[in-house]
Amino acid sequence: MTAQTVKLCETCPAYDASALKRLGVKVGAADYVVALAGNPNTGKSTIFNALTGLRQHVGNWPGKTVARAEGGCDYNGRQYRLIDLPGTYSLLSTSVDEEIARDFILFGKPDVTIVVVDSTRLERNLNLTLQILEITDRVVVALNLIDEAQRHGIQVDARHLSRRLGVPVIPMAARRLQGIPELLQAVEQVAKGLYATRPHRIHQFGAKLERALNGLIAQIEQEYPGLPNARWVALRLLDADASIEQAIREHRLGDLNRDVEASGTEKAVPAEVVA
């Protein structure tokens, strides 16, 4: 995204310029914290830039986000602090830069989490979406790259998806700034509790597992008072997640100050991911 594109957009009629003020990095005590999460390369930084007026590096690898970036905007008189996160496929099996995203989603207490999904790869993207819906009900799904989907003859029924997921689903083509006003509106409604989400959840545990969980949760909460998502942590411990075990042992669970500097230098691999 270039500054030019941002300027163009301010004159575009679909843009509710009166409602949105981009604050760049000059965001004081924000009313709401909004995290931008999603698989790699789905347009998180593009949306972040459109909302904040900043120029967080956008593009196919090696422009990928490896540390979290913050910026702000003012919408209808409320201040939003936006957090652009590195892409991640999962909250479970994370690589080092995925951990930054995971930790913020789980422990950063965002008021709203925007999950940016690639409409052309919906099935893959729903893995993370469902994982996030397990831990928070304040979610908006940005169904991005609908222009790409259309080009490939893919049509996504956003209303049906929204009913099934139980959260707002906003079709977008963020690079053309399509859907930005609708996204802002949905974020505002979820932030203010005006939209009652009913997140789709998969987990239904038996009494035995619940007892084991509750015992662990009590211990975690004693060790880490005020830690959000102690239940998620307990589940990971029962699943023998070595990285969570280690984080607990080293007393750095929920420590959000471990961002690495954006390096942009990585070995070239001719595919999207090395798992």
């Binding site: 999962s90 479970l92 099996s93 997640d241 990285s243 001719p270 991911v273 090395v274 798992a275």
Partner: protein, 82 residues
């Protein structure tokens, strides 16, 4: 049907995931990449050094190291393997 692992799948061929043999973090990672039993996988191309190999899984190209692909048991028709 012969039992094979994903690292044996020849470039250009498709197989279906039968089961994952790994446990722990590797298993979680493979499942997060979309490799669940019943998933079709196409071996698309090999990196110049032969490892990793890029596989088409649920619409995305995913690079797997040989050590990871070995953990994925597949079903395929005769002749699709080396």
């Amino acid at each position: 049907m012969t039992r094979h692992t994903l690292d044996q799948l020849e470039i250009g061929n498709t197989a279906v995931v039968r089961r994952l043999n790994a446990g722990g973090a590797i298993r979680d990672r493979l499942m997060d990449m979309g490799l669940l039993p019943g998933t079709p996988v196409l071996a698309e191309f090999r990196s110049p050094l032969g490892d990793p190999v890029a596989y088409r899984i649920r619409g995305a190209l995913i690079a797997l190291r040989r050590s990871q692909a070995r953990e994925v048991e597949i079903d395929l028709s005769e002749g699709a393997c080396q």
